[in-house]
Every structure is written in structure tokens, then in C-alpha cells.
Symmetry: C2
Subunit: 192 residues, 2 copies
DNA sequence: TCATTGACTAATTTGGTTCTACGGTCAATT
DNA sequence: AATTGACCGTAGAACCAAATTAGTCAATGA
């Protein structure tokens, strides 16, 4: 016995956050689920928020791995952007913890949750930014401002994948790819 | 005397909504500001919300007129899109009533206010959609889905003008025009 | 000796109640 | 007929006691 207590705690907390959200998860609950005394949690984590941070950190790593897995260096840059972003947003909208956190932010506005989701967004933008800078260095795309461009790309995807659904039928992956191709690849004007 | 009571009421309500927001404006307050009995308001408007609707309706008309005023048929389509959208968002971000309503939605989530702002957004998208369809008919741009495209264009502008400011220094008009040009005009890939 | 524990505390949240002030009505007034 | 403001029912603000929670630390035992 004496299995890795730290791991037990993180697993229990992840399960509880996913099921009940951040606020509704109590430290007593986590301790019980993890089969440790409550004090033990505080030997590994300064407080509830730090425990949360560690879990989100893993989540981000998972997301980046997901995105990387669909990137294919032989494909054109814009195709990879689309694949990576689409995978990231799909992950976000299917992952139980993410669903719960987005929901909690919307209906309770928990501060710690808002901060974490902002952090996740920043990480995604950072990831994109890196890819864009590589593409610029390779001469694949013009020397745009990588920070603003990645920010805008993410916003465009969220608009198409999430915002659109609030008032319309969801768009298929193909439709989204089609729209993005117009903007990313060709620009609007015909001929010129 | 006996000046247009209806006009007095609308003016008083507009002033009060702009100053205090929708919820914090009471019908007693509007009546006092307009120098009429409260009952009089209800001879012109079914209820508070209908009074609000009339005011928002005028606001939208004002916005459309603003946008039209900067459109120049001799300029290329994308330039006009940029000018119109920029003017619309500038109007939105300078107009006292709009500022107050956006603020009220963010910090109090007043339902009637959310609905009105959604309505304003729909009107703007409708306006854009019309312009896009004309451009398609003229062969100036490819036959994209005008609904989705106008939706996405608006979201891109809001991202650059408003969302960006939440975590960064505001972008200048020139910077925004520059970014949009990349997406609207050329698309990202260099050479192809 | 030192990791682990859970009873404990201060702080926050909840749930139940009261009461204020609001939107809307309508009999009285002009 | 048009206008008014006193009046009504009620949504939600304000209040408070009770319950719950995050975090601590003296006691425990391996």
C-alpha cells in the first residue's frame, strides 16, 4: 500500500471537478474520494486553487498533444491550422471537465474558473503563435503580427463552432473548413 | 404647451436608460423627467419593454445611417466593408446608451438588455448580409454563404475592436484595417 | 522523527423571512 | 376624452441565524 498519495488526490479532484464543478467540490470530498486525510492534501498543494491549477495544466498538455497529433508537415500551413484548431475546439467541447467549467463560468461566474479558462485560451493562442512564427520564418505566409493573428484565428473558430450554434443549426466540419478556406486561403475578392 | 407628450416620454426614457441603464430606470422616474403622470406613459406604450424597443429601434436606424454615410460605391467592396463595420463599432463604442447597455449585460445580465443587444447584432448582420449579396450579384466576390460570412465578419471586428482590449493595448484603426486586409483581401498563404 | 490525520476555527455561504420599491391598473379629475 | 397619481400584487433586496467550508495544527503512530 501507501500508493502515490499525490496521484490519488489529483485523480479524485479531477473526477470531482468534472462531475460537480470547482465551487461545488469540497476539500473534504476530495480527501474522502482519495482516501487520505484532508491535511494530507495541504502537504502537496498550498490550497484549493493550486490543486486546480495543476489539473488544468495537465489538461492543457493533453490538448496540445491532441492538436499535434493531427498536424501533418506535408500539408499546407492553412490546412494544418484548420486541423489543429478544429481538434482543439472539439476536444474542448467533448471533454467533461471543460464542459463543466464552461458551464460553471456561464451560470455562476466563479472567479477562479474564469481565470483558468482565460489561462487555457492564452495557452492555445501561444501554441498557435508559435506555429505562425515558424510558418513566417519558412516564408510560407507573410510576416503578419503573430500575436494578433493567432488571437483572431481562435476567435474566428470559436465564432463558427460555438457562437453560431447559439442562434443557428450547428455547422458541419466541412462547412467550417469551407468558410475558413475563403478567408485563410483566398480572401474575399474575386479576380482583382 | 401640451407639447408632444410621446416625444417627451421617449426623450426622458432615452436619457435615463443612457444614464442609469434599463433596470435602474423606473417608470416613475421617466414620468417625472417627462413631466407627465405615470399612467400617460401607458397610453403610448404597452409596457416598459415596448418603450425600450422603440428607443433601440431608433438607435439601429441611426447606426445604419452612420454606416451608409461612409460607403463609397467607387471603392472596392472590401474597403467599404471595412469602413462600414468600423463606423458601426465606433458608433457602438461611443454612444452612451450602447455603452451603458453593454455594461449592464456584462455585470447584471439583465434579460431584456441581452435580448435587445442580440437584436442590434442581428440588425447589423442583416445589413452586412444585404451588402454581401449585392456584391455577389455583381460578381465582385465569390458566392459565399452570405449569412455565415456576415456573422463571421462582425465577430472578427468585435474581436479586434473590443475583445482584444480586455487583455492588451487597444489596436489603432490602421492596425485593424491592416489585419483585416490580410484576411479579406489576400488570405494568409504567400505565393501558394 | 516525521508523514498523516481529523477535530477545530474563522470565514463564507445558504435558506428562510421580512419588507421595500417597482411595474402596471383604474377610479377620480380636469 | 385625456390625464393623473393613489393603489395593488409581487419580484427581489436586505437581513440574519444556521450550516458549511477552506485551511490549521496538536495529537498520533509507524
Amino acid at each position: 500500500m501507501a500508493p502515490d498519495r499525490r496521484r490519488m488526490i489529483v485523480e479524485a479532484a479531477t473526477k470531482s471537478f468534472s462531475l460537480f464543478g470547482y465551487k461545488a467540490t469540497t476539500m473534504d470530498q476530495v480527501a474522502k474520494l482519495a482516501n487520505v486525510g484532508k491535511g494530507t492534501i495541504y502537504t502537496f498543494f498550498k490550497n484549493k486553487e493550486e490543486l486546480f491549477e495543476e489539473i488544468i495544466s495537465s489538461l492543457v498538455k493533453e490538448m496540445i498533444a491532441e492538436a499535434d497529433s493531427v498536424i501533418n508537415p506535408e500539408l499546407p500551413f492553412t490546412e494544418n491550422v484548420h486541423r489543429a484548431l478544429y481538434r482543439l475546439l472539439e476536444f474542448r467541447s467533448r471533454h467533461q471537465l471543460m464542459i463543466k467549467l464552461v458551464q460553471e463560468e456561464a451560470e455562476m461566474g466563479t472567479l477562479a474558473v474564469s481565470e483558468m479558462l482565460q489561462h487555457v485560451e492564452d495557452e492555445i493562442i501561444g501554441y498557435l503563435k508559435e506555429k505562425i512564427e515558424t510558418a513566417i520564418a519558412k516564408g510560407a505566409i507573410p510576416a503578419v503580427n503573430s500575436e494578433i493573428t493567432s488571437f483572431l484565428l481562435l476567435k474566428m473558430y470559436i465564432a463558427l463552432v460555438s457562437d453560431w450554434e447559439k442562434n443557428h443549426d450547428p455547422l458541419s466540419s466541412e462547412q467550417i473548413a469551407e468558410i475558413m478556406k475563403v478567408f485563410l486561403l483566398k480572401g474575399l475578392p474575386k479576380g482583382t
